[in-house]
């Protein structure tokens, strides 16, 4: 069944889009990531203009994340206090990040810089996460230290416990400085603007390993702040670039909202380290793909530069 997307200006298979939305929604509910880092490249692969893909993905992330956040809230996994502090940082960082993007664009090769940053970030995050969760799994298999999940994080979190503005985060069972979550929110906000994604794949590991939150609370809290940041991005894209394809977003969100529910349920059944090793494998696969994009000879040396108006 073919359907015509008005803003993208192309006809595409309805079930292909629905299926991609479902798979990404499942991963989103499972890992607490917005899925933008998977969805945008996938949309571009099936021929959606990059500007339309990015803007419409932000729109559907609002839906997927709110569905996932609602499910996690019901399961008691959202630390609102922590979420709001990170969000404040995220908005500050996003504003700075957009300025960086502007400067890079003016100098050309924004896409190239983006890919290099992607490869470095994803490689680092994916690699570290893979090694850590692999060790945890091996340790728990040999029968030792079952509750070791929070050990690494607690150690790093301790380094920052001397900072002022201490707050008690009842939900995450933490007593730590508010400066730190705010700073992480800011850094992730900058990265998110640079890479054009929600930033969950950086945020969740940062919350687990650096702040020291339990995996499941980190995921729930991250989804909560993603709802608000992606809503902001959708509005900006609609106002400034006019590239939000509502029809595309609606199909994607039909698939992803349903997928996210199953993801949240699956997340409850899997152990923290199992979720992390799965996410690590996905992140590393994407890293390899992007790295190959940079070094292999492109099939077409001449390509259409992304137009300002997306499909128009």
């Amino acid at each position: 069944m073919e359907i015509y997307l008005p803003i993208a200006g192309m006809s595409i298979n309805f079930f292909l889009v629905l299926g991609i939305g479902g798979v990404v929604g499942f991963l989103s509910g499972l890992f607490g990531v917005g899925g933008g880092f998977l969805l945008t490249p996938l949309m571009m692969m099936i021929g959606i203009p990059p500007a339309v893909a990015a803007a419409s993905d932000s729109n559907q992330i609002v839906a997927a994340a709110s569905s996932g956040a609602y499910a996690h809230w019901r399961l008691g996994n959202v630390d609102f206090k922590m979420g709001l502090i990170i969000l404040a940082g995220g908005i500050a960082g996003g504003t700075i990040g957009v300025q960086f993007v502007k400067i890079l664009r003016a100098g050309g090769n924004f896409e190239f810089v983006m890919k290099v940053v992607y490869v470095l970030m994803l490689g680092l995050v994916g690699g570290a996460m893979f090694i850590e969760s692999w060790r945890t799994i091996r340790r728990s298999k040999s029968g030792a230290a079952a509750g070791s999940e929070e050990m690494g994080g607690a150690k790093m979190g301790g380094m920052f416990s001397k900072l002022p503005l201490k707050m008690h985060f009842h939900h995450s069972g933490l007593h730590t400085s508010a400066i730190f979550p705010f700073a992480i929110g800011t850094i992730v906000g900058i990265m998110a603007a640079l890479l054009g994604v929600g930033g969950g794949f950086i945020m969740v590991p940062a919350m687990i390993y650096i702040i020291g939150m339990p995996t499941i609370a980190a995921i729930g809290t991250d989804l909560f702040q993603i709802v608000l940041t992606s809503a902001n991005v959708t509005l900006q894209q609609a106002f400034v670039n006019k590239t939000v394809d509502l029809l595309l977003a609606l199909i994607l969100l039909a698939g992803s909202t349903i997928g996210a529910q199953f993801g949240a349920i699956a997340g409850k059944r899997l152990k923290g380290e199992q979720i992390r090793i799965l996410l690590a494998i996905i992140v590393l696969t994407l890293t390899v793909k992007l790295f190959l994009d940079l070094v292999l000879t492109p099939s077409d040396l001449v390509s259409l530069a992304p137009a300002k108006g997306g499909g128009h």
């Binding site: 069944m1 073919e2 359907i3 015509y4 008005p6 803003i7 200006g9 192309m10 006809s11 729109n59 559907q60 609002v62 839906a63 997927a64 994340a65 709110s66 569905s67 996932g68 609602y70 499910a71 019901r74 050309g108 090769n109 896409e111 190239f112 709802v227 809503a231 959708t234 509005l235 894209q237 609609a238 106002f239 006019k242 939000v244 394809d245 509502l246 029809l247 977003a249 609606l250 969100l253 039909a254 909202t257 349903i258 996210a260 529910q261 349920i265 940079l294 070094v295 292999l296 000879t297 492109p298 077409d300 040396l301 001449v302 390509s303 259409l304 530069a305 137009a307 499909g311 128009h312």
Partner: protein, 265 residues
């Protein structure tokens, strides 16, 4: 009524836009009379491109035909050229290209080189050399190289051909002429063919000279939901953005609640 309006628009265009490079109306002794299976293509939810059949009368029996489909408006595009820098590939220069048609298709009943001279083809903009002649390239960034013009032109043709927006078919089976008089063929409009007006021009040649000319106008426009979404997003972006966020939030929460209810059982 609509047909009349289109016809009127064509007449006005032919008169006013005479000096415009996009609307060259060649002088010919005879008019090629044609009929299209439709002149208006509507883009609805299930639009997946369209096919339009054309029938016509060859004004000079036995003459050869070349039929050209172009978008009325020419395009402005930016093309990136990648190059190797150390171990990686990155964009090393960009060209602004103007004057190339958004869509360009040619049907002829035999190879064009056997019908007209390269000079006449150039003059009438029939064939890719004619397109290239109209095209203007301007280096936007990077350092120019002597073979850039070729590279950019070939690259653009390839991109367009892959999208089925450009092609040239020189085949008597594709453009059938019965007994030298009646001809029929069809043009395929791919889904990428967006809203706008398209010209289908029929040229008749005898002994390398233009003896007949005719023109059809095809209009493609969005209707219903497609038209509403396009117009709202472009003309009322604030409303559209808020709507998009509200719908997404509502859908997300709704699905969340539905699943929660189901979870109790």
């Amino acid at each position: 009524m609509r047909r009349l309006a289109i016809l009127l628009a064509v007449l006005i265009l032919a008169g006013v836009g005479g000096g415009n490079a996009d609307a060259v109306t060649p002088e010919a002794r005879h008019k090629v009379i044609t009929a299209a299976s439709k002149n208006l293509v509507e883009i609805g939810l299930s639009y997946r491109g369209d096919q339009i059949h054309f029938f016509g009368v060859n004004p000079v029996p036995g003459s050869d035909l070349i039929i050209r489909l172009t978008a009325e408006k020419s395009e402005e595009v930016k093309l990136s050229v990648k190059g190797r820098v150390g171990p990686v590939w990155m964009t090393v220069k960009q060209y602004d290209v103007t004057g190339s048609p958004f869509m360009y298709k040619i049907h002829s009943n035999k190879p064009m080189s056997q019908i007209i001279s390269p000079a006449l083809a150039q003059e009438l903009e029939l064939g890719y050399p004619g397109v290239r002649h109209q095209m203007k390239m301007h280096l936007a960034r990077g350092e120019a190289a002597p073979d850039d013009a070729d590279k950019v032109f070939t690259g653009l043709i390839k991109i367009k051909e892959e999208a089925n927006l450009y092609n040239i078919v020189e085949d008597p089976k594709r453009l059938e002429i019965s007994e030298g008089r009646l001809f029929k063929h069809y043009f395929r409009f791919p889904p990428a063919a967006t809203e706008g007006r398209y010209l289908v021009e029929s040229f008749a040649f005898q002994n390398g000279e233009l003896v007949g000319y005719g023109k059809d106008v095809i209009e493609i426009k969005k209707v219903g939901l497609e038209a509403w979404m396009t117009n709202t997003s472009q003309n009322q972006p604030v409303l559209f953005g808020i709507l998009a966020v509200v719908i997404a939030l509502g859908a997300g929460l709704l699905v969340g609640m539905i699943f929660k209810k189901g979870g109790h059982h």
